[in-house]
């Protein structure tokens, strides 16, 4: 019950933060240099007096800023972010079309990351100073430092062109085809993520592995699976969950370099192209979506803490 109250409070705070973010996002149009009507039309060349009048009426540009925000917010709550300046298509449709690709890539790369990074980090942390630890540390450094676009080209050349195991580009159609197409991009994205999460897991494990209760458990011949899985991993999981959640949240908002390299029509590419073209309605929508995703994941992480650590549950109850 007390956890439910905690979650409810966090949800209220989340809504409040989203409102503030939405106002700042709305103000992007006013902050951009130039007349908002001309920006929304796509430039002075399209700004005939009649077109300007129409846009000013449609977007309530002659009303006070707070009134404009209210009309805009009402649209947002109906998932109506207006039309893209570049394509004239509804912004919602553009995002709706691309989000599944970005989400599939993010989830796929996350699964690969977790399956590889956590066991590796755990092993490295437990066997500190050994060859395994040094290999994992060096590998993480390389994975973190390697430029994504170079990795992408390398993987495409080896696995798509030379070996022909995977397609060179595209997102595929249908579930199986999409998984097939997204394998190389997911691996590319996962390499950097594995580096981060493995290092974090290793650091957290090192701290826990030297605790007295772990030593006692080992001395008392508690099975290794229980010691490392139940004791060490669970106690080391809080920072690992935190960083994993944030990694997934950022991946969900678009991994631009991977999308560009594999020609994936995702949200990252849409955002960069929209910024370049000053397509404000699209920028507003993606920014708000990003804020929502990150806030949601922070909440999920915080709730996960309670599931993992009973001490925190008692802390909330106190």
């Amino acid at each position: 019950m007390k956890i439910a109250i905690f979650v409810a409070r966090r949800l209220v705070a989340m809504v409040a933060i989203l409102l503030v973010v939405s106002f700042l996002v709305f103000c992007l149009l006013s902050l951009a240099p130039g007349d908002p009507a001309i920006i929304l039309l796509g430039g002075p060349s399209k700004a005939t007096p009649e077109a300007v009048a129409k846009v000013r009426a449609a977007y309530h540009l002659d009303e006070p800023l707070i009134a404009q925000y209210w009309y805009w917010l009402q649209g947002v709550l109906r998932f109506d972010f207006g039309r893209s300046i570049r394509s004239q298509l509804p912004v919602f449709d553009s995002i709706h079309e691309r989000f599944p690709i970005t989400a599939a890539l993010a989830v796929y790369s996350f699964i690969i990351t977790v399956v590889i990074a956590i066991p590796l980090g755990l092993a490295a942390g437990v066997r500190r100073g050994t060859r395994l630890d040094r290999t994992v540390t060096a590998g993480s450094l390389i994975g973190f430092a390697a430029p994504v676009f170079a990795l992408a080209v390398f993987l495409i050349y080896v696995f798509a062109v030379q070996l022909g195991w995977f397609p060179v580009y595209g997102a595929g159609k249908g579930t199986i085809d999409r998984i097939y197409h997204l394998t190389l991009p997911a691996i590319t994205l996962a390499i950097g993520q594995i580096a981060i999460i493995a290092r974090q897991t290793r650091a957290a494990t090192m701290d826990v592995a030297t605790q007295d209760y772990v030593t006692f458990a080992r001395v008392r011949a508690v099975p290794a699976r229980t010691v490392w899985g139940g004791y060490v991993l669970r106690n080391a999981s809080l920072p690992v969950i935190t960083i994993s959640g944030l990694v997934l949240a950022f991946a969900l908002t678009g991994a631009v370099l991977v999308e560009q390299s594999f020609a994936l029509p995702g949200l990252g590419t849409l955002l960069v192209d929209s910024v370049n073209a000053l397509d404000v309605p699209v920028i507003q929508a993606i920014t708000l979506l990003t804020a929502f995703v990150i806030l949601s994941f922070n909440l999920i992480i915080d709730v996960a803490y309670f599931a993992l650590d009973p001490r925190l549950r008692r802390g909330v109850g106190a």
Partner: protein, 558 residues
């Protein structure tokens, strides 16, 4: 045509080329080009130094075997299947498959019949088009003069937001009567003739009015009369076009065209090596080195209408002083940077008019050389002479100025950095500022922006009179340079009845431009096309393919 994703500036007819990611066709045919294409006439897979035609001259043997499916890649998405909503070059590559134009352009950019079987220019302000009787839309209904007139009326409608509308600014009225469409202009405009080939895509009035604001969207892609109908379209996934089988003209040999977006040239190259992509348009010139090495790919390089310039606002100090402008010309190592910036696939520009327009109009290499020999030469790189010129000016001690560069146009930043390094040696400090394409485009016509700008333009027509009246006139003139004498010369140029008549009128205009240097001409860029070795572009690739139903030229290699 603007290659840029940036909006066209003001009512300029010139359009700046944007990044290779989105090329927008400029209203008045000048394109702000961001695409790293350029073209030079002639020369297929070898770089054309001073070619005179816009076509490459490849001639491997071909056959007429039908091609079941061809995959073509472009660098940015097809934004909409409607010219009013999107007029960038990648979008046009798709529009020309689905929609006929009133007139077509041949490999020299000259006008040919299409939906109009004939046309006339009975008075300087009247154009009449006789519409063919056998053209049908995909739903079987005939293409009428009313549909044709409607297709243009919606461009010039008062609330039209079309970027191409700026090129129709001289149009007073468009009316259909019987099988004829008559366009009446407010004043003579010899550039208007090409609008029928560049922008006048024929759509069905009934379908378009019913679709309303959704016309050109994935749910309402449109009703055209072109050889291909739109089978599927989405901005994210690309489009698939299939032959209708009922086209009034000669059907292309390619039964299906799949158009996909691949922003990264290296990915496109690997996809072509693998055989997943058959054609890649507008390969960025800086990336062509790797394409040249791939044995599975045949490259075509043609000079077209893409030219680059350094612009100086002559109404702002210190660029109001011709000695300063001359000094800047001496500081530009234009020839030396051709290889690093464009892989050698560009020529040093000799005037502000794209070389292809002069060479294709004169149509005689010796006479073309003679024409250029009669113009003052643009100063070439010489630090000592730059110092001398600056010493004669009002700012002999040097000055500081910003130079905005569009981050998505690969050549701009290295060129600007090099210019800044050279300028430092004579006491001029150039602060290179990276800006977005939108800001770059906006800065070109903002009187409060930096007086020093880089311009990237692209021609839409073969006529040499296209550019000077725009960039030295009143519509889009970043340099602000004008004199009463020059204005008279430009009016005469714009009113010249044919392209050939423009040549003698060009000499005084370009003499002034090359002497006063409001713009320092830099490069005539080439355009690069990559094709898989299984296919051939019949007759050789042409810069004017942007306005053609290009699958008509694709054949299987024998």
């Amino acid at each position: 045509m603007t290659k840029s994703t940036t909006s066209t500036t003001s009512t300029t007819r010139t359009i700046a080329r944007g990044p290779a990611l989105a090329c927008v066709v400029a209203a008045a045919s000048l394109v702000l080009a961001g695409c790293a294409s350029g073209g030079g006439g002639g020369g297929s897979s070898t770089s054309a130094s001073s070619s005179s035609s816009a076509s490459s001259s490849a001639s491997p043997s071909t056959n007429d075997t039908p091609i079941d499916s061809l995959t073509a890649a472009i660098q940015s998405p097809i934004q909409a299947m409607d010219i009013l909503k999107a007029n960038d070059v990648p979008t046009r590559r798709a529009l020309t498959l689905a929609y006929d134009r009133v007139l077509a352009q041949d490999d020299q950019g000259q006008l040919q019949p299409m939906i109009a079987e004939s046309w006339a220019n009975p008075t300087p302000t009247t154009f009449t088009y006789t519409i063919r009787s056998d053209a049908k839309f995909w739903d079987g209904t005939p293409v009428t003069a009313e549909d044709v007139a409607y297709s243009a009326q919606r461009i010039i409608a008062p609330d039209s937001k079309a970027a191409v509308a700026a090129g129709w600014g001289s149009v007073k009225s468009i009316a259909a009567s019987g099988n004829t469409v008559t366009v009446v202009l407010k004043q003579p405009d010899n550039g208007f003739a090409y609008r029928a080939a560049l922008d006048w895509f024929v759509v069905q009035k009934k379908y378009s009015e019913a679709a309303g604001a959704d016309l050109g969207s994935p749910t309402k892609p449109g009703m055209g009369s072109g050889p291909y109908k739109v089978t599927s379209y989405s901005v994210a996934d690309g489009a698939t076009f299939d032959l209708t089988g009922t086209y009034w003209g000669e059907e292309p040999k390619v039964k299906q065209v799949v158009m996909q977006t691949i922003p990264d040239p290296e990915t496109a190259r690997l996809a072509m090596v693998q055989g997943d992509v058959d054609v890649y348009f507008d390969v960025p010139l800086a990336a062509t080195r790797q394409f040249d090495k791939a044995s599975e790919i045949a490259m075509s390089y043609v000079t077209g209408g893409y030219n680059d310039m350094l612009s100086m606002r002559t109404t702002t100090k210190p660029f109001d002083d011709v000695n300063v402008r001359t000094a800047m010309a001496y500081l530009s190592d234009t020839a030396g940077l051709t290889q690093p910036l464009f892989n050698g696939k560009a020529t040093v520009a000799k005037s502000i008019v794209p070389a292809i327009q002069i060479s294709s109009t004169i149509n005689d290499p010796a006479k073309t050389d003679q024409f250029y020999a009669g113009l003052p030469a643009i100063p070439s790189f010489d630090i000592a002479k730059a110092k001398e010129a600056l010493a004669k000016s009002s700012v002999a001690g040097g000055f500081t100025v910003d130079l905005p560069v569009d981050t998505t146009q690969p050549w701009m930043s290295p060129y600007a950095q090099n210019l800044a390094q050279n300028a430092k040696q004579v006491g001029i400090t150039i602060n290179v500022k990276n800006v977005s394409p939108a800001d770059w485009g906006a800065g070109l016509s903002d009187p409060n922006a930096s007086p020093l700008q880089l311009l990237a333009l692209g021609a839409g027509t073969p006529s040499p009179s296209e550019l000077p009246p725009v960039i030295l006139g009143t519509i889009f003139n970043p340099s602000g340079y004008t004199t009463p004498e020059l204005t008279k010369q430009l009016d005469a140029l714009a009113a010249a009845p044919t392209a050939a008549d423009t040549i003698p009128l060009l000499t005084p205009v370009l003499t002034t431009a090359n002497t006063e240097l409001p713009y320092i001409p830099l490069y005539d860029e080439q355009t690069a096309l990559a094709m898989g070795k299984d296919y051939v572009w019949e007759g050789g690739y042409s810069y004017w393919a942007i306005g053609q139903t290009w699958p008509e030229y694709i054949r299987s290699a024998s």
